[in-house]
Symmetry: C2
Subunit: 334 residues, 2 copies
DNA sequence: GTGAAAGCGCTAACAG
DNA sequence: CTGTTAGCGCTTTCAC
């Protein structure tokens, strides 16, 4: 069993209060006492019990993080920037991978509540009323990263998905494309699902291009889905000149499907992705993609959260970051 | 402030002990009492304080996880399988991304000790004496996943890296390659660094191929490094027919460099990767790679750990899993 | 500068 | 079946 504070006190010949003072900065302690305590700590290999301390200070320096898919590059990058920022500020993160399982999200939200975490960061693709209610009653500050949920005492870190998607589509239109297939996300997902779809449609409309329902597909952001949908597109009699997928993963899936079928990018099909993560540089041709400031989203999320926790600063309801088109080699001028 | 157990007790007209019993299974409680408590819990939105509970039960159901790079596909897959397994067993994971920073690893190891986590999973590429000493004195069970560190009370989940690397090299040799460049990891890293290098050399030796020092490069497993090293290889006057990289990421980096320089795979260069993760299927040509059972490594690590925690079962010093060559399209017969 | 003592919120004997 | 009570290990008044 690990040594306790009273063991250190006894060994150092002082009271537990003095030991506690030394451990927490050493104010108002004589140098001799300080010395004695330090020696005793070393000899006993003592380290304070975080749990007991949390109980009395009502603070545990923990941030709960909910993420839909740890293996998706987009989230893993956000996560790593969150981890970096928390670690530098002496906070720790408790990670839950929900895999689109709402029950699991609820379970973890409840756990975070029981754990009395100091804050929560949520990245997910959809939510239902149970989740929204739970978030409202939980009274722990929440930051949404790359998603929006109507909920009190929460901030959403997002880009303007509508505008970003509009700009991506417009870029293809400006290159001369009029037959642009759209591989979207889940429409229930406000930002990356619905907003990106709306941006696509509005860009078509503003440029006098008829909307063609058969060019539109919805899916789950994953590479495999992009591949499968592209297979359908190739099989169909409709032949778009450009494919716009709202995630890099789906764009790469589409790319591979095109290559596997003996077609060329961008000669036969142009491809536009979304996210602008490292994946777009790891394939050939490199993929043109609408970039979100991924690392920044994570770091701003956590900075906003920690500032709120430590200073009680007001949480803004949204922070909108800038998107940016990364032009690579997957789109050609018609 | 959240409701406490005594608030519930008062509201339900029972004692705190009864409330505690109801919360923890409800054995030995009358149905009326149970009802009253449940109602009070609902009305107050009560949830037990995890921290207080941990303090008295001396158990917090937390597993500390140390990972070198959250954004590397290899680790993110292991992590997700760890997360899945822990979540199903009502444990939670505390994640630390050390980014090859030994000081950070030490800091987190100490934190895990202070937190009294029930177990630790470590995936890292190198360690020094400070870390080994710390691990030995910490008296918390440790599982090493994909690495080995001499340390008591610990298990390593690994493949036979020497043999796997030997087999990978042998495959290239059997295809007729004799000029095989090797892009290795860090030699200080026993398994993925040294063992894989040794396997490569032994395969050459057993097949009567002279070892050529100029074909050997060491690096950090990352895609960018694979790219850079490949650039050097192309520039040099030595022209290997095959490139064997000990991570998929480096293999993909090499592939992209080859393509960017106008060469073809496998026509001009054959490429062999290591890990066999999802990355090998996301590029064209698909990469032939020596596969580790990645998800299995994570799940076996956590199963072994939890069993030890809950039953006190002996920790084996090693569990060696099977490797498997995944043959794709990046290697050709000479 | 230092120690005694009162909790933090909960569980687990121990009586009844 | 139920309540009382003694801690879990620590921090923090409050006296001295």
């Amino acid at each position: 069993m690990p040594a306790r504070i009273k063991d250190v006190a006894k060994r150092a010949g002082v009271s537990v209060a003095t030991v506690s003072r030394v451990i927490n900065g050493g104010k108002n302690v004589s140098d001799e006492a300080k010395e004695a305590v330090k020696n005793a700590v070393d000899e006993l290999g003592y380290s304070p019990n975080y749990i007991a301390r949390s109980l009395v200070t009502q603070k545990n320096n923990m941030i709960g993080v909910i993420v839909p898919d740890l293996t998706a590059s987009f989230f893993s990058v956000i996560l790593s920037s969150i981890e970096k920022e928390t670690s530098e500020n002496n906070y720790n993160i408790l990670i839950c991978n929900i895999e689109e399982d709402l029950d699991k999200e609820i379970k973890y939200l409840n756990l975070f509540k029981e754990m009395r975490v100091d804050g929560i960061i949520v990245m997910h693709e959809k939510a239902d009323d149970r989740i929204i209610n739970l978030m409202n009653e939980i009274s722990i500050p929440i930051i949404f990263c790359s998603c929006v949920v109507p909920c009190v005492n929460a901030t959403a870190i997002i880009i303007n998905d509508f505008k970003a998607s509009y700009d991506a589509t417009k870029y293809l239109i400006d290159l001369g494309h009029r037959d642009i297939a759209f591989i979207g996300g889940d429409l229930r997902d406000t930002t990356s699902g619905k907003d990106r779809y709306d941006g696509y449609r509005k860009a078509l409309e503003d440029n006098g291009i008829n909307f063609n329902k058969e060019y539109v597909w919805f899916s789950d952001y994953k590479m495999k889905s992009g591949y499968n949908i592209m297979e359908e597109i190739i099989k169909s009699d409709k032949a778009p000149t450009a494919i716009y997928a709202v995630s890099d993963d789906m764009a790469v899936g589409a790319l591979n499907c095109i290559l596997d079928n003996g077609y060329k990018v961008p000669d036969d099909f142009s491809i536009m992705g979304f996210d602008g993560g490292m994946l777009i540089d790891s394939v050939r041709p490199k993929i043109t993609s609408m970039q979100q400031p991924i690392r920044e989203m994570g770091s701003i999320a956590i900075k906003t959260l920690l500032e709120h926790i430590e200073t009680g600063s007001e949480l803004p309801s949204q922070i909108v970051l800038k998107h940016k088109l990364i032009i690579n080699d997957s789109c050609r001028k018609l």
